[in-house]
């Protein structure tokens, strides 16, 4: 099991487009991938778009990304990259 803290930096938060990107990427890995709000108020399966959207993670939200499985390290690296680049969105 690998855990990593991530932070939403894109302006619109985890909205439909960003969530779609996240879920598509997550689905490329076998590992179980979970996102949890740091305050523990909500968790989401990173492979389910409805679940990810329901995190209602706006800009500035911090999440704990947990991966468990054969490709857990690669999965975490790929997802962390997405968060770090703000899902490729403009960063005003």
């Amino acid at each position: 099991m690998v855990e990593e803290r991530v932070r939403i930096i894109n302006r619109l938060g985890l909205h439909a487009r960003a969530a779609a990107q996240l879920v598509k990427t997550a689905n490329g890995y076998q590992s179980m991938l979970r996102l949890e709000r740091l305050d523990g108020s909500a968790t989401a399966d990173a492979k389910s778009i409805l679940s990810v959207l329901m995190l209602a993670a706006s800009r500035g939200t911090e999440l704990l990304l947990a991966a468990d499985g054969a490709d857990e390290k690669e999965a975490v690296r790929a997802l962390c990259e997405l968060f770090a680049c703000g899902f490729g969105e403009a960063e005003p």
Partner: protein
């Protein structure tokens, strides 16, 4: 039905907001986009497996439809408008949704419709509690997908395929997917209960030249498919069950409207002059790729306003310099030797899809347009580089939006010059590129004389000018009555700006919606405008009107309007003088309605 046609039903009138001009008489085609009624039935043990198969088949059908919608949207509206369907597809594949629905069918022996409804309501209720406005609004995506699933389950084809020649689409709201799915070639007009000027539907309707009126509250509930309907988007009015007399008067108007929309013949493409020989140039305003076709089709002399912010996906992804370069190159090629004017990103406020950047209290007066580009300098730099590079291969100019102070122009110009130098050093080929200023803020009107010495041309954005000058939010229905394009202060500002440009020998392009309305276009010409830029579909109509008038007459009316004291007075003047001077060009329906005296 026949009773209605015979006029037994009383004529009913709705007023709304016109988001795309034109007049159409036709028959209603109701398109259901709101919630479907769903009933619960209990299944026998033996039917459960069958119901599960039915559900999975519906999911597959919905998925195929969505893939087709996505492909179509990519082609017609550009990838930026299509990404949302990726999210919809993922929702249809979402194990959480599918598993819960299947479990509901299995455990509660519910029919698939009911199970979909119960499960999706559960998701939506969580959504409705989200505090972030933007994220909460994404609930509409789930609804969109759920509706599609319910339609697939019902075995109906999405009803809107059967568009007849004169279908007037009436709906509560048209979501992006419904819009992408419509065979818009057969849609004569659109009337919706909800929606606004910047809604997805409005943008597309304008681009395709389909008359549309929004904000009609309960029209959808009252109208029935097949009902006669008049859509008068010149006045923002809808008439349901029009009387025979009404139909006849509108049919005449609609025919002349339609004639005016017909693509020009070859001689309709040459230079345009008033009867007394004043040359007027008509250019095109474009934003979406779907509109590109109209530029040539309607005989525009190049592109007077390219709204570059639409390059950003609707939801805020900044395109790279190379992506922008490709886009500007395409626009330059489209515009040909007449060239195109790229307006720098007009970001902020309403243009961010209804989002304030940082929850600004007053986004219309906030960090937007040129201010945004100056604060986020890298945005301006990459955009300037992309235009400069594309200008090496085609004629391109840029215009700076929302200039309120000459310092804005100087700062932007310095940055652009730096990038010009940098590009040359890097060995890039660059082209000549003129820099203009949008005149849309009252302060810019007041300093127009000095601004005219600093820029290569003016672009008058009449929509924002009216909004800022009269302090009226154009998106707010409550104050719609105060939004008066014919306010004497508006006309005076336009006149002053054109005069300042003339004195400095620089061109002034009028590119707001006023230019697209024949009545206003004539007034603008009278005020001295010689270059008008508008949505392509309006060009033939305006062209026809201007070719049939004398500049002298237009100037006399314009001068008289400048002496008026109120918008009411200007409208009255326009109504009287236009109907007296050009009754064949301006039937009463096309002119401002007479004020009711109390």
């Amino acid at each position: 039905m026949s009773e209605r046609v015979r006029g037994v039903k009383k004529e009913q009138r709705w007023s709304g907001l016109s988001v795309s001009d034109g007049v159409v008489v036709g028959h209603v085609l109701r398109i259901h986009t709101g919630a479907r009624q769903v009933y619960r039935t209990s299944l026998n043990e033996t039917d459960v497996a069958k119901e599960l198969r039915r559900f999975r088949a519906a999911v597959r059908l919905a998925r195929r439809q969505l893939l087709a919608v996505k492909a179509r949207a990519e082609k017609e509206l550009g990838a930026d408008h299509a990404y949302i369907f990726d999210a919809h597809l993922l929702m249809l594949e979402d194990r959480k949704l599918l598993d819960e629905v299947e479990e509901c069918i299995r455990v509660e022996r519910a029919n698939a419709e009911w199970a979909v409804k119960v499960v999706s309501d559960r998701f939506l209720s969580v959504y409705s509690e989200i505090k972030d406005d933007y994220l909460r609004e994404r609930g509409s995506d789930i609804e969109d997908v759920v509706q599609r699933l319910l339609v697939a389950l019902s075995g109906e084809r999405p009803g809107y395929r059967q568009l007849t020649e004169d279908a007037v689409i009436v709906a509560e709201d048209l979501l992006p997917s419904a819009m992408a799915e419509l065979d818009l070639a057969h849609a004569r007009a659109i009337a919706t209960d909800a929606g606004g000027w910047t809604s997805h539907m409005a943008i597309i309707a304008r681009g395709l030249g389909i008359p549309a009126v929004v904000g009609l509250r309960d029209l959808y509930r009252r109208a029935r498919t097949g009902d006669m309907i008049v859509v008068d988007a010149l006045r923002g009015e809808i008439l349901l069950h029009p009387s025979q007399q009404t139909i006849e008067s509108y049919q005449k108007l609609a025919t002349s409207e339609e004639l005016a929309r017909v693509a020009p013949t070859d001689e309709g493409r040459g230079s345009l002059r008033t009867l007394d020989g004043v040359e007027i140039t008509l250019r095109a305003n474009v934003e979406l790729p779907a509109e590109y076709e109209g530029v040539r089709k309607f005989g525009a002399r190049g592109i007077g306003l390219y709204r570059s912010e639409f390059l950003m996906t609707q939801r805020g992804v900044m395109p790279s310099e190379d992506e922008q370069y490709e886009a500007y190159l395409e626009v330059a090629e489209l515009a040909g030797e007449d060239g195109a004017t790229v307006r720098l990103f007009d970001l902020g406020g309403d243009k961010m899809g209804g989002l304030a950047l940082e929850n600004e209290r007053n986004p219309a007066l906030g960090l937007r347009a040129i201010r945004f580009s100056l604060v986020h300098e890298e945005v301006l730099r990459s955009q300037a580089r992309a235009v400069l590079r594309a200008a090496a291969k085609g004629r391109l100019d840029i215009v700076l939006p929302m200039i309120s102070d000459i310092t804005d122009v100087r700062r932007a110009r310095r940055i652009i010059d730096e990038e010009r130098e940098a590009l040359l050093k890097e060995g890039h080929e660059i082209g000549p590129m003129r820099i203009g200023a949008m005149i849309e803020v009252p302060s810019a009107v007041w300093i127009a004389d000095s601004l005219a010495r600093e820029v290569d041309f003016f672009s008058l954005g009449t929509n924002d000018l009216v909004q800022y000058l009269l302090a009226v939010d154009r998106g707010n229905d409550e104050v719609a009555g105060w939004f008066r394009s014919l306010h004497p202060a508006v006309l005076e500002s336009i006149s002053h700006t054109i005069e300042a440009a003339r004195k400095a020998s620089i061109p002034a392009v009028v590119c707001g919606e006023m230019a697209a309305t024949p009545t206003y276009a004539v007034l603008l010409v009278g005020l001295g405008a010689t270059i008008l830029s508008m949505i392509p579909a309006s060009i033939p109509r305006v062209r026809r009107t201007i070719a049939a008038i004398n500049y002298r007459d237009a100037e006399a009316i314009a001068r008289a309007s400048l002496a008026c004291e109120s918008a009411d007075e200007v409208e009255e003047l326009v109504r009287l003088r236009f109907s007296a001077g050009w009754p064949h060009l301006f039937p009463p329906e096309t002119l401002p309605a007479p004020k009711l005296r109390e």
